[in-house]
């Protein structure tokens, strides 16, 4: 994968096209921020601490902007965007009450953050762009009734003006034009989730327009620094490539043009004043593998290699269900399908389940259902039953307070389902022994183990296995024991009914940040 990138860079250099430079490739590199206007730094989350930080593009050094106290261990920064003078950064902060508020901090050393907007009713916020004069922050709000809203938050007093409400499928990116008149955003055109198009909305709410209307997926609009063009990602030519469309007073000025091919899983994060494009890229792969409890995993040869995870064994051991990512989807949720694999013949089939996000799967004792944690097409989160025969989805438990990952749960021996919203993971053994993970320990029966950050539990016969802090453990009567699962990705795994083999996913998906100099200037040259 990485080799492909080098190849792309080399090709760029030879072709005289804009050159891309990899600026951040460390473990935990994230694409949640945006560049400063001069391009000297990019706002981001410090992977080590969860603080808001600035990444210096020349050196890849991080400077923390927030310093959370030890008592705030669970809090962290998320999406962020610098103001147009580079003096402030607006960012989402996962707070002590378990939702996100909108904060602003100055970029000078020692500045104290201020909470601008904090409302549990709109508990997910994504600051996207500042108005040129710095008085408003364009922010995406996600409400408790599962709708998203394009809103302007007053940077002085935090009051909110909602411009437009959308369904639960929120825009992947929004950007304010340099003249401060228009918001560009992506959303799906019709009533139902489907390919996205690019739309404009006047900042004063007076007008709306469509600038890109095409059957392909068109996402992540970013204005050029001169405000004449919108660059976006599109798979209209078969792969995810960068395209640009001219815009004239809210109207498209002709057909979009290809800017750069072969960027694959890329996410435009923002433009600098000088015309560089900063973007995120995703590389790497995860695959499903089977191993004896301590052995070397054997990777399954699947029909669609690349993004496979969360295997679940049927109770007769004959089938494996797992999740597979498909389509042009590059960032964000969507496009996870359930694959059913017959382990004797190796034959696979896709199970078309109408769920928006699936986090994990567990097979029912009678083999007829899969229990899926995740969220459905109405933005409701929790646990869902998916019928193995035809993919029919039935909500098992909708939990208002859950995020899109859903909630922990498992089958009881009698075929009913136990949900545990107070734990981070649960597992119920064939004989009905329940194990649950709390922040500082795992409990099962009258025993407990001091394992932290447990995200998955699984019984292999009467032995309890766990994923804690991304590593596999056996929770034996004698105590915790780390397991040697090579390349384990830290996600949900499953034990064969014989208790001797396990299926888990291996590999890593990594995010990187790249800078493409003269991305917009090159458009001018090409004209």
């Amino acid at each position: 994968m990485f080799r492909r990138w080098i190849w792309v860079c080399a090709a760029l250099a030879w072709g005289g096209e804009p050159q891309a430079r990899l600026v951040w490739d460390a473990p935990g590199a994230n694409v949640l921020g945006a560049p400063s206007p001069d391009g000297d730094w990019i706002s981001c989350v410090d992977p080590a601490t969860g603080n808001l930080a600035l990444l210096e593009t020349a050196t890849a050094k991080l400077r923390r902007l927030t310093l959370k106290p030890p008592a705030a261990a669970k809090e962290f920064a998320y999406f962020s965007v610098p103001s147009r003078d580079g003096r402030q950064v607006a960012y989402a902060w996962f707070n002590d009450e378990g939702f996100y508020d909108l904060r602003v901090v100055e970029t000078r050393a020692g500045a104290a953050p201020r909470v601008l907007f904090r409302n549990a009713e709109a508990g997910f916020v994504q600051p996207a762009s500042w108005t040129p004069d710095g008085s408003f922050i364009l922010t995406l709000l996600f409400r408790k009734d599962n709708i998203s809203q394009i809103a302007l938050v007053n940077a002085a007093d935090g009051t909110v003006r909602v411009l437009k409400s959308l369904t639960w499928v929120y825009p992947k990116k929004m950007d304010i034009s340099p003249d401060g008149l228009w918001i560009a955003y992506d959303a799906f055109g019709g009533d139902r989730p489907g390919p996205r198009d690019i739309f404009l909305l006047a900042l004063d709410g007076s007008r709306a327009a469509t600038v890109v209307d095409h059957p392909a997926e068109d996402v992540f609009p970013v204005w050029s620094p001169d405000g004449k063009e919108i660059l976006f990602a599109s798979d209209r030519a078969g792969t995810m490539d960068a395209w640009a469309v001219r815009v004239d007073d809210g109207r498209p000025g002709g057909e979009p043009r290809l800017v750069k091919k072969g960027l694959h899983q890329f996410l435009p994060m923002g433009a600098t004043r000088a015309g560089a494009l900063v973007y995120g890229a995703r590389t790497g792969a995860t695959e499903v593998a089977i191993a004896s409890r301590e052995g070397v995993p054997e990777v399954l040869a699947t029909r669609t290699p690349g993004r496979n995870q969360s295997p679940a064994w049927s109770r007769d051991g004959r089938q494996l269900a797992y999740l597979s990512r498909r389509g042009a989807e590059n960032f964000g949720l969507a496009a996870r399908v359930i694959v059913l694999r017959d382990l004797e013949t190796g034959v696979e089939r896709d199970l078309p389940a109408r769920l928006a996000h699936i986090e994990s799967l567990r097979w029912s004792p009678d083999g007829e259902w899969l229990l899926a944690a995740g969220s459905d097409g109405k933005g409701r989160s929790g646990l869902f039953r998916v019928r193995v025969r035809d993919g029919l989805v039935k909500p098992e438990r909708v939990v208002e307070t859950a995020d899109y990952h859903g909630v922990p749960g498992d089958w009881n021996p009698d075929g009913s389902v136990s949900v545990d919203t107070g734990a981070s993971a649960v597992a119920i053994s064939r004989t009905g022994t329940r194990a649950r993970a709390l922040p500082d320990r795992v409990e099962a029966g009258d025993r407990n183990w001091p394992l932290k950050n447990t995200t998955w539990l699984e019984w292999a016969g009467e032995r309890l296995l766990a994923s804690g802090g991304g590593k596999p453990y056996e929770l034996a009567p004698a105590g915790l024991r780390e397991l040697a699962w090579k390349d384990y990705d830290g996600g949900p795994f499953s034990a064969h009914p014989d208790g001797k083999r396990v299926a888990f996913s291996v590999g890593r998906i990594r995010q990187q940040v790249w800078v493409m100099e003269h991305a917009f200037a090159s458009l001018d040259r090409g004209r």
Partner: protein
């Protein structure tokens, strides 16, 4: 107050922009959709308002749009079947026409795709206002002041299409918001009483109302079969099916918005439920069993206290109803 300050702030930020936009009450989107061919302007809204309350659009000159859609009743008439000219009783109830700018299809069965299309239909419906389409423009022209006003706005002698544009613009200006619910959602924890908060929790959780009633207007603008069209083993009203002829739409009606809902009884397309208590009982039983019941409906096992809380919550959706362009009168 807050809202006013807001609008002032935004207009400073975007002073370059010339278009005047209709102010909206708290809880609604600032962007009020209107088709490119009929932008929402002060002039078209004012003209539409005159037409809306003008009985001259009915056969015998007795009934205006406002005769059925009465502003003081949140634009309904309190009857279970609308009453047209010559005291004819219709099978369907007059719906509250609030926040219809965000509508995607109109009438209980969604047979009109746009408001411009919808507003002419009551005029020509023999059981409502009973004019012929070709009579509309001449009538308006003949009413001198109105005819002149039409000419002033559209720059030509009154045409039926202009009447439709003006009426649709006025309907788009009918906005309901600024309720205790809106203040609560905007972050004022005290805006709802304790039972109302409980009711909201049920509305979003156990009672599953948000499966269809969501967003600023508390509707998905889609069609669902709750069983209201089924009576004594047969279809009384096939609803959406009449438009699409798709079996999946049998007995489906458009989810109505729930703003001002406590003031718009009786309920449902046929006014068959008299009170909100009856509505909540209806949902508690999982709607009315029929061959095409929406899968989102099921028995809810609500306690008497749950039901009271839900009705209390529905009461918090009453706030202010604005109509027309502010500052015009």
């Amino acid at each position: 107050m807050r809202l006013r300050r807001w609008i002032a702030g935004v207009s400073v930020a975007v002073a370059l922009h010339a278009a005047e936009s209709l102010p909206v009450p708290l809880g609604l989107d600032a962007y009020v959709p209107a088709p490119d061919a009929n932008p929402l302007t002060r002039k078209t809204v004012e003209l539409g308002r005159r037409l809306f309350f003008w009985p001259g659009l009915s056969r015998d000159g007795t009934l205006s749009c406002g005769g059925c859609h009465q502003p003081e009743r949140a634009f309904t008439d309190g009857r279970s079947g609308a009453v047209g000219v010559r005291a004819q009783v219709n099978a369907r109830r007059t719906p509250p026409i609030l926040n219809r700018a965000w509508g995607r299809a109109f009438f209980w069965d969604g047979r009109a795709p746009t408001l411009e299309d919808q507003v002419l239909q009551p005029i020509v419906n023999p059981k409502e206002m009973d004019l012929k389409l070709e009579e509309v423009a001449p009538r308006v022209r003949a009413e001198r002041a109105l005819g002149e006003a039409m000419r002033a706005v559209f720059g030509r002698e009154a045409e039926t299409a202009d009447v439709a544009r003006a009426l649709a613009s006025y309907v788009r200006s009918i906005l309901a918001g600024d309720s205790p619910y809106d203040r609560y959602v905007a972050g004022d924890r005290e805006a709802l009483t304790e039972p109302q908060r409980r009711g909201l929790h049920l509305f979003r959780g156990k009672a599953n109302c948000v499966a269809c009633h969501l967003g600023p207007n508390l509707t998905d603008e889609a069609f669902h079969n709750t069983g209201t069209g089924w009576k004594d083993g047969g279809w009384r009203d096939r609803g959406r099916y009449n438009v699409t002829h798709d079996e999946a739409d049998l007995g489906a009606f458009k989810t109505p918005g729930l703003r001002e809902v406590a003031r718009v009884a009786p309920y449902m397309h046929d006014g068959s439920l008299r009170t909100l208590d009856e509505v909540v009982d209806f949902y508690d039983q999982g709607g009315r069993p029929n061959p095409n019941l929406d899968p989102e409906l099921r028995k809810l096992d609500l306690t008497a206290e749950d039901k009271r809380a839900l009705v209390e919550f529905l009461g918090s959706l009453s706030g202010k109803v604005h109509e027309g362009w502010p500052g015009s009168r």
